[in-house]
C-alpha cells in the first residue's frame, strides 16, 4: 500500500514576515482536507525578486537551499502563484543538481491547483456570504495557467472560482477587465512607481465599482499592493487570501 503523501509547506518570505495568518490558514486548510503537512524550518526566499530584477545567476545559493529543504517531500504546496512559478521556471543552472531541480519542479503546486488537480476536492462544505472579487495574479494566471486568460480562445476555467463558488452565499463578482495586471510586478512597484500605482488604482476601481466586499486572490504580493492603495485611500474593502476564505468557511 502506498504510504500517505507528505506535503512540504512552502511559505514565501514576505508571507512569513507580513502575513503569518495566511500561512496558518493554508496549513489548517490542508490539514482539514486530511493532508499530512510539515513546514520545514529554515526557509528563506526562493530568489524571485533577484531573478526578476535580472540577477537569476545570483540565486544559486537560495535555490540549492530550497532543494535541500524540500527534496524529501512528495508534494510542495505554497499559497503563492508567483513564487511557485519562479521555482518551476527560473531556477538558475545548478551543475550536478539538475535532476533534483527537475524533481522539485514537478512536485511543486500553488495551493488552489493542488486542491483542484491533486486532491481533486469536489464539494467543499461551508459558507461565506459575501460579494467576492477575485484578483487573478498574472504569474498564476498566465504562468501556471490557474485560469483561462482572457486573451486565449479556449474553454473558460478558473481553479479558484471552482473552489470558492462551492461556498454557500458567496457571490462571485465578474469584473469589467477580468484579468488585467495590478501593477505590482516586484521591483517594478519601486522602479516604475507612478505606473505601478496607477495600475493598482485602476484595478481597485474595477472591484469597487462592482461593490466587492472582499477582494481575494492567490498572491499576497498583488494583494499587498492593492491593499496598500485601498488603505491609503480609506477604502473599506476587505482583503483576504483564498486560503483564508476557504479555511474560515470550512468548518
Amino acid at each position: 500500500m502506498k504510504k500517505e503523501p507528505h506535503i512540504g509547506l512552502f511559505i514565501p518570505c514576505y508571507v512569513d514576515q507580513f502575513y503569518p495568518q495566511v500561512a496558518i490558514a493554508t496549513l489548517e486548510l490542508l490539514e482539514k482536507l486530511g493532508c499530512k503537512v510539515s513546514y520545514p524550518l529554515g526557509q528563506t526566499c526562493c530568489g524571485q525578486p533577484l531573478a526578476n530584477a535580472g540577477y537569476e545567476r545570483d540565486t544559486e545559493g537560495s535555490s540549492l537551499h530550497f532543494i535541500k529543504l524540500f527534496e524529501e517531500f512528495d508534494y510542495i504546496v505554497a499559497p503563492s502563484g508567483s513564487c511557485v512559478l519562479h521555482v518551476k521556471e527560473h531556477f538558475p543552472n545548478l551543475p550536478g543538481k539538475e535532476m533534483s531541480a527537475i524533481s522539485i519542479q514537478k512536485k511543486i503546486f500553488e495551493l488552489t491547483e493542488f486542491l483542484t488537480d491533486v486532491l481533486k476536492v469536489g464539494n467543499l462544505k461551508g459558507a461565506f456570504p459575501k460579494k467576492v472579487g477575485y484578483h487573478s495574479s498574472c504569474h498564476g494566471l498566465r504562468g501556471l495557467r490557474l485560469a483561462s486568460s482572457s486573451e486565449l480562445n479556449i474553454p473558460h476555467f478558473n481553479k479558484a472560482k471552482q473552489l470558492l463558488t462551492n461556498l454557500d452565499g458567496l457571490e462571485w463578482i465578474e469584473l469589467s477587465r477580468s484579468d488585467e495586471c495590478c501593477g505590482f510586478g516586484g521591483t517594478f512597484a519601486i522602479t516604475e512607481e507612478a505606473l505601478s500605482v496607477q495600475m493598482g488604482k485602476d484595478r481597485l476601481a474595477d472591484h469597487l465599482s462592482h461593490e466587492v466586499e472582499v477582494l481575494t486572490g492567490g498572491d499576497l504580493s498583488c494583494l499587498m499592493h492593492l491593499q496598500g492603495i485601498a488603505s491609503r485611500e480609506g477604502q473599506k474593502v476587505e482583503f483576504m487570501h483564498v486560503a483564508e476564505i476557504l479555511n474560515q468557511a470550512i468548518r
Binding site: 508571507v15 525578486p49 535580472g54 494566471l141 480562445n153 492603495i229
Partner: protein, 453 residues
C-alpha cells in the same frame, strides 16, 4: 529619458492617460471578440508560429528563392546590410529618376532607418500618405504606435492641426470633414509623385511576389500613379508559400484592430509595362538577432501591434515613453538587440504579466524574452545601485539565520519608525501606498511555538 521618467510624465495628465488606456483597451476588446469568432484561432496561432519558425531556421534559402523568383518577375532586387545602405539605395534610385517628391505608405522599416530625414536632407519632399502618419509628420513626431501612428492625439488636436496646415474650419472636429480635407490634400501629392515607396507585410519565397496591407488604399494609390515603386522590406518578412497567407491574413487584422481583414491586401508581382519595381531587402541587425538563441524568435513578429494594445504599461505610458521606433512589449525585446545601452530600461518596463505573449498571433514568448534581456542587461550594470542591494539580498536568502535576523529586525524597525520616515517622498512604496500592518511574530516563529515537536 528613461522609461520610468517618461511614464511618470505621461501620467501627470490623468484624464489624458485614462483616455489613452481606455481607447487602446477598446481595441484589445475588439480583437478579443474578433478572435473568439474563429473556433480554430489557437490552431491558427500555432500554425503561424510554426511557419515562422521554419522561415527563421531556413532564412538564407528562402531569401535566395525569393530573390530569384522576384528577378524572374522583373523586379529589381537590392540588398542593404544596414539603415545607411538602405537609405543610400533609395536615394540613388530617386536621383536616377530625377525625382524630387515622393509619396510613402506606412513602413516601420523606413522609420527604423530614419529614411525621411535622410531624404529631406538631400532635398527630397517626403509625404507620408497614411492618414495617421501624415498627421504625426505634420507635427514632426514619430508614430506612437505601429498600426495607429497618431493614437495619442484627439480629434480636437487634429482639428487644430488641420486648421493650421490645411486651412480647415477652426473648431470643426467632424472626422468625415477632416478626413476629406486630408484626402484632397493627399490627392495632389499622389498625382505629383513619380516614385512611391511602400513597406512590405509579406514576401512570398515561392512566387517572388510581396504583399502590402493597408486600410486606406494609400499604398495602391501611390504605386499605381507613380512610374517607380520602391518596396522596403526587412528580411524576416518572408513566408514560404502563397497559401500560407491563408493563415497570416486571418490573424493580422484581427489581432491589430479586430477587423476580419485589412481593407486592402495588395499583391505586387511584376511591374506594369513601362514601370519599375525595386525591392530593398534590409538586414539592419536582424541576422545578429537571429544568432541570439534566446531572442531570435522576436523576428517572427508580423507587426500587428496587439501586444501594445493589451499592454497595461503601454496603455498608461504612451508610445513615446519607450523612445524606440517600435514601442511596447515587442519593441522592448527588439530594441535592446539594436542598442542595449540606449534601451536598457525597456525590458524593465513590464510586470512580466504575460498578456503580450497570449495575444501574439505568432506566439512570440515576449514576456519570457523581457526576463532574459534583464539577465543580459544586468551583466553590464556592475555592482552598483540595484546590483549591490540585490547582492546583499542574495547573501541573506542563502542563509536562513541571516534571513531570520534581518526579517525580524525589519519588522521591528518598521514598527518603531514614525510614519513620516516610512512615508517620506524618497520611499517609492509609501508615496501612494500604505505598508501592511506588521504582525507580532513571523509564521516561522508561530510554527515553532504551536506545531513543532
Amino acid at each position: 529619458m528613461s522609461h520610468p521618467k517618461a511614464a511618470a510624465e505621461f501620467l501627470k495628465d490623468q484624464a489624458n492617460s485614462q483616455w489613452h488606456d481606455e481607447t487602446l483597451w477598446m481595441i484589445r476588446d475588439k480583437r478579443d471578440t474578433s478572435s473568439k469568432s474563429i473556433p480554430e484561432w489557437e490552431k491558427l496561432r500555432n500554425l503561424a508560429s510554426d511557419i515562422k519558425d521554419n522561415v527563421l531556421s531556413n532564412l538564407d534559402q528562402y531569401l535566395e528563392q525569393f530573390e530569384s523568383q522576384a528577378l524572374k518577375n522583373g523586379i529589381k532586387v537590392h540588398w542593404a546590410k544596414d539603415a545607411k545602405e538602405h537609405n543610400e539605395i533609395v536615394l540613388r534610385i530617386l536621383q536616377e529618376k530625377n525625382c524630387e517628391a515622393i509619396v510613402k505608405s506606412k513602413s516601420i522599416l523606413t522609420e527604423e532607418c530614419h529614411l525621411n530625414p535622410y531624404l529631406e536632407k538631400h532635398g527630397i519632399e517626403v509625404v507620408d500618405t497614411d492618414l495617421g502618419e501624415r498627421i504625426v509628420q505634420f507635427l514632426h513626431q514619430p508614430p506612437s504606435h505601429i498600426v495607429m501612428p497618431a493614437i495619442h492625439l484627439k480629434k480636437r488636436d487634429i482639428s487644430a492641426l488641420f486648421h493650421e496646415k490645411l486651412q480647415t474650419e477652426k473648431g470643426n472636429e467632424d472626422p468625415t470633414y477632416l478626413t476629406n480635407a486630408a484626402r484632397l490634400h493627399l490627392r495632389e501629392k499622389f498625382l505629383g509623385a513619380k516614385v512611391a515607396i511602400t513597406g512590405v507585410n509579406f514576401g512570398i519565397a515561392e512566387t517572388g511576389e510581396f504583399l502590402v496591407c493597408t486600410n486606406e488604399g494609400n499604398a495602391d494609390m501611390g504605386v499605381h500613379l507613380a512610374d517607380t515603386h520602391i518596396a522596403c522590406m526587412g528580411i524576416e518578412k518572408i513566408i514560404p508559400r502563397r497559401k500560407d497567407l491563408g493563415v497570416f491574413l486571418r490573424l493580422l487584422a484581427r489581432s491589430a484592430t479586430g477587423q476580419p481583414i485589412t481593407n486592402y491586401s495588395s499583391h505586387f508581382r511584376s511591374p506594369a509595362e513601362g514601370k519599375e519595381i525595386h525591392l530593398v531587402l534590409v538586414d539592419n541587425g536582424r541576422t545578429r538577432q537571429l544568432a541570439r538563441e534566446k531572442f531570435k524568435n522576436s523576428l517572427k513578429c508580423i507587426r500587428c501591434g496587439a501586444c501594445m494594445n493589451t499592454c497595461p504599461i503601454y496603455r498608461r505610458s504612451g508610445g513615446f515613453s519607450y523612445g524606440s521606433t517600435v514601442p511596447g512589449p515587442i519593441g522592448s525585446i527588439l530594441s535592446p538587440g539594436l542598442d542595449m545601452k540606449k534601451y536598457s530600461t525597456l525590458p524593465f518596463a513590464s510586470t512580466l504579466c504575460g498578456s503580450c505573449s497570449d495575444v501574439c498571433p505568432v506566439k512570440i514568448n515576449i514576456h519570457e524574452q523581457l526576463y532574459e534581456w534583464r539577465q543580459e542587461i544586468t551583466k553590464h550594470h556592475g555592482a552598483v545601485g540595484k546590483g549591490l542591494s540585490m547582492k546583499l539580498a542574495s547573501g541573506i536568502f542563502k542563509s536562513p539565520l541571516a534571513y531570520q535576523f534581518s526579517g525580524s529586525l525589519m519588522r521591528k524597525v518598521i514598527k518603531s519608525l514614525p510614519k513620516i520616515v516610512i512615508y517620506n517622498p524618497l520611499n517609492s512604496w509609501g508615496k501612494s501606498r500604505n505598508l501592511p500592518e506588521v504582525p507580532k511574530e513571523s509564521f516561522q516563529e508561530w510554527y515553532k511555538r504551536n506545531r513543532h515537536e
